[in-house]
Amino acid sequence: MSASVCTIPFEIAPYRLTGAVYGTLLNHRSALAELGSKAAQPPYNAPPRAPVLYIKPRNTLAASGDAVEIPAGVSELEVGPCLGLVIGRTACRVPEEGALHHVAGYLIVNDVSIPHDTFYRPSIRFKARDGFCPLGPAVVPRDAVVDPDALTLWTYVDGVLVQTASTADLVRSAARLLADVTEFMTLIPGDVLALGVAWPAPRVRAGQCVAIVADALGTLSNEFVLAAQ
């Protein structure tokens, strides 16, 4: 976890992140549509039923402005722009209706990955590398986002718009996802639940700068650099 992520501006309770960040796989319709009939074939055999989650451990967390290192031998990384919910009230078995009352606020999450072509059992080294989860630039209070289910995220690489994605196209809305996730795991204040990345994920090379922009949430900006040998 970078030092700066610990001081991410966060003016509302619970005032700080726990460091637990959960990502959601295939929760954007474009991502599921891209898989198409492959989802029903081996090795998957059936489209996902429950939310499919993964963990971005604390070593991956980074703040806006931190450089993201591209490991040696890798030419490009995938960036994963998504909306993150910051939990404000312990959420265990919350009903969909009113689920967002458990949310303190929102932030932008960039779920960075080494490109890989399997969802079956990918190695965590594709997603859990140091610095692979920039988030921020700040946690904005829930009330500052009028409709979290109609929020557009614009992603720019070196100033060029490369992706426009909306939370209106999620398979599970923020409230639905919170309900389905907290059926089996409790989230506590300061935990982050990222809602899912649209397909195709933009790719970046060393020397490029990624900026993800959303209304009310600000700009999450990170440069990608070659890892020091």
């Binding site: 090795p43 996902p48 499919v52 993964y54 604390r58 089996f184 795991m185």
Partner: protein, 255 residues
Amino acid sequence: MRARVAFSGAIHTATPEGLPGRTEQLRLDDGRLVTGAEVVWLPPFEVGTIIALGLNYADHAKELKFNSQEEPLVFLKGPGSLQGHRGTTRRPAGVKFMHYECELAVVIGCRAKNVSRAAAMRHVAGYCIANDYAIRDYLENWYRPNLRVKNRDGGTVLGPWFVDASDVADPANLALRTHVNGQLTQQGNTRDLIFDIPCLIEYLSAFMTLAPGDVILTGTPEGVVNVMPGDEVACEIDGLGRLVNTIAADESFGR
């Protein structure tokens, strides 16, 4: 060896009074002598990232029909799944196969980045017992093992003791066993790990910096069996003690 317990409104460090590993009587850090039954046992250290291994014993891999691997099968668990000694873990109604997994947990003691196999053990603070529950009914073939199988509330049981690395003569030769209601169901030895502790630290630290409190659950040997509400599951590892957990039905959780 030491525990973290809640007693009389505060959290304490506690050590066994009498023989090592016995949980009947504890000496709190403030000098009070209490019984193991009157405290709440917490995970015995401040837990950071929880890293778990799938199929890291040849016999268990065979049991689940897996072939040999080129790379450790690693998955991550979240802090919400943690629980201490003498806790209860819920078995939802209608589930067909819920099983425990007795595992050696390796606790990182100092920052580890690009650590060689030869230097790996210097980064280990100590050890404890882990019981890494799974409910196989929920297995889906997406990012296996999916969190609904492995990351349920109460599904990562740690304790009762944190044991300093210096007090474990050979972590590569520790017998593990699990008893369900007193009956032996699982046996193994850490000498049969496919990827041993130095190898795991070298592998992980090559792409993720490990920090104090991060913990590696090194996998489980064969002998995982279905457990039912009311069952007492006791995981033992030589020199680390005996970690007890009870399975409970929905009613105990207000469902």
